[in-house]
């Protein structure tokens, strides 16, 4: 196993249990941001 692969394997082991790769975590964060914007928009419209 090359050094780069070893490093990558080591990083992946440090992930939280709800994601398998860092890429999944990044996608989750973007989805979270979109959800928050939609919720805040609904909040703004509802209470206006």
């Amino acid at each position: 196993m090359s050094t780069e692969l070893k490093e990558r394997h080591s990083y992946e082991q440090e992930l939280p249990p709800f994601v398998r790769t860092w890429r999944q975590f990044y996608r989750l964060l973007i989805a979270w941001l979109v959800l928050l914007i939609l919720l805040f928009y609904a909040f703004t419209v509802y209470f206006k």
Binding site: E14, W22, L29, W32, L36, F43, T44, K48
Partner: protein
């Protein structure tokens, strides 16, 4: 404040300071003092990063902003999750792999010494000035409680923070920040619960927000595309992204926090968790401000929240005019209270025609109240041309000290102290590390011993502490503190980020080209900002874009002059 409040405040502060000193005990070297031996787990990194960004200003200004102009400020943080992703992909692995102490160290490896020195200098200027404002914010608290000038309270708090930071070092800063954030979360939750509890019995949580919403305070999202509007979805996503990326990627006060992570994975995890939590946390802080706003529709707020300035006016020759304005203010508030009652009834009936009618009346009353307050501040300026006429930072504080129960007041005051200590400690630590690693060690004494550099770091912390206290003494002349810090950052962050993006992604650009590009950009950004051509958040985007553009142009112009490129 009652004896119980003082006891809570003093015990909390002592526990935190003693904990910090306990954790930093023992023999230290420069690696431990500046990077905490790179041994911290992800939750330390996350809380430390959050505590560094969430200064006392966050807890004083944000509810005040929500009170006076609504929740649109939350959009400012929309760039955080996106910035965290870019950081984790690019910045974190590179900084860890190269084992740098500061972000600017990397720039010498990629470009040259002058580019490293320039960015380090820009950072020192920006952070040095803004840390002064960070120290000034909590000094307002003691000023209000003890009814004395902020100059004395600034000197006292500044001295306390410097003392704690010099002995702290990075590891102690991170450990105390973890404890600080835990206390902060608990205190804010309690404050939110209490403000709802203090509302009239027929006004629940949802109705309180509805009333504030009818008066334009729940504007969390603004979709308009207006370059002059400071907080819209677009400025938040684009301008906010560039500002946050610059802040977290190139500001040593943040880079130093995640470089203390025990591995790339732990640093990444800490930053991504910050991306998950930051926006909801800021939303909740603003929501507390909105609830305080509704509370003051049923309880007459002071005509001016800064009691020190108001007392000064009351003791002046302008007292008769002030008394007249106070009578008018009382009358306006009674009208407003009546209109709020009618709005409450209309909301219960669900009658949209009535709701719209009451909304117009309420907004007019709100404008009338603001006009009376404006006349009061005009009087203050007539009495004293240097009077601080912006009381946004006093709104939440005034509510806490007047209406919250004993014990909780002390805890909330302690929170503001703790937040200030956390962010100021990080800032002083980063100013010291940049001064020693990027300037002293590189330009003044290249072959010093570890002990000498450790000593220099402690001296640098003291030096910057004194500078920041002097800056803090001038901060009272600046309006809203939170905005002042962000505006200052926007002048410089874009340029620094541009240099880093060129370093990471445009391999053909050389040191001389990026250096000239950065200097030209900084001049253009200062001119644009000074003349208020665009809202300040856009300066980050413009600054970053211009560095890339100018660097490419200069590189192309100098392509035929390899001798210049080598200099």
């Amino acid at each position: 404040m009652s004896t119980l409040d003082w006891a809570v405040l003093v015990v909390t502060l002592i526990v935190i300071v003693v904990y910090g000193i306990y954790k930093s005990r023992g023999e230290q070297n420069i690696h431990g003092y500046l990077l905490g031996n790179q041994s911290l787990p992800w939750y330390h990194v996350c809380l430390s990063v959050m505590a560094t960004q969430a200064s006392a200003i966050t807890f004083l200004s944000a509810p005040g902003l929500a009170y006076s102009s609504g929740m649109s400020f939350v959009q400012f943080y929309f760039g955080v999750p996106l910035a965290m992703i870019v950081l984790c992909i690019t910045f974190v692995p590179i900084f860890h792999r190269l084992k740098v102490y500061t972000a600017y160290e990397y720039l010498e490896q990629r470009f040259d010494l002058k580019t490293r020195a320039l960015t380090a200098f820009l950072f020192l200027v920006q952070r040095g000035l803004s840390t002064g404002i960070t120290i000034y914010a909590p000094s307002i608290i003691l000023s209000t409680i003890l009814d004395i000038n902020t100059t004395y309270t600034t000197l006292f708090i500044g001295g306390l923070v410097v003392f704690y930071t010099v002995y702290g070092g990075t590891k102690a800063v991170s450990y105390t920040q973890m404890l600080q954030m835990s206390i902060i979360f608990c205190g804010l939750f309690a404050a939110g619960v209490m403000v709802v509890h203090l509302l009239p019995s027929d006004i629940g949580f949802v109705k309180a927000i509805s009333i504030a919403g009818k008066m334009g305070r729940t504007n969390a999202i603004d979709l308009t595309f207006d370059l002059d509007n400071r907080y819209t979805l677009w400025t938040g996503l684009l301008g906010g992204f560039f500002l946050q990326l610059s802040y977290f990627g190139t500001d040593q006060s943040q880079v130093g926090r995640y470089l203390s992570g025990s591995s790339v994975g732990q640093s990444r995890l800490g930053l991504l968790m910050n991306g998950l939590v930051k926006i909801p946390m800021q939303f909740l802080i603003l929501l507390i401000g909105v609830l305080v706003f509704t509370f003051y529709q049923y309880n007459k707020p002071p005509v001016f929240f800064n009691s020190f300035e108001l007392n000064k006016l009351e003791k002046s020759a302008f007292k008769p005019q002030l008394d007249k304005l106070k009578i008018e203010y009382d009358r306006v508030h009674e009208e407003k209270e009546l209109a709020v009652g009618k709005m409450n009834g209309a909301l219960e009936k669900g009658d949209n025609v009535l709701i719209n009618r009451e909304r117009i009346i309420l907004r007019e009353a709100d404008q009338h109240e603001k006009a009376v307050r404006k006349q009061v501040t005009d009087l203050m300026l007539k009495n004293d041309a240097h009077a601080n006429t912006d009381d946004n930072n006093y709104v939440f504080l005034s509510f806490v000290t007047q209406y919250l129960p004993k014990g909780l007041i002390g805890l909330l005051i302690a929170i503001i102290f703790l937040a200030s200590m956390g962010s100021t400690a990080s800032a002083l630590n980063s100013l010291a590390s940049t001064t020693v690693v990027d300037i002293y060690k590189r330009l003044v004494k290249k072959d010093g011993s570890d002990r000498e550099y450790l000593q220099a770091s402690r001296l640098a912390t003291v030096f910057w502490g004194v500078i920041c206290i002097i800056m803090a003494l001038y901060a009272s002349k600046i309006g809203n503190l939170l905005e002042a810090v962000n505006i200052l950052g926007s002048y410089i962050y874009g340029t620094i980020l541009g240099v880093f993006l060129v370093a990471f992604y445009i391999r053909q650009v050389n040191g001389m080209a990026v250096f000239v590009g950065a200097i030209c950009t900084q001049l253009v950004v200062v001119l644009l900002g000074w003349n208020e051509v665009v809202a300040y958040l856009w300066l980050n985007v413009i600054g970053c874009g211009l560095v890339i553009l100018f660097s490419l142009i200069v590189q192309r112009l100098l392509l035929g002059r390899p001798d210049i490129l080598k200099q």
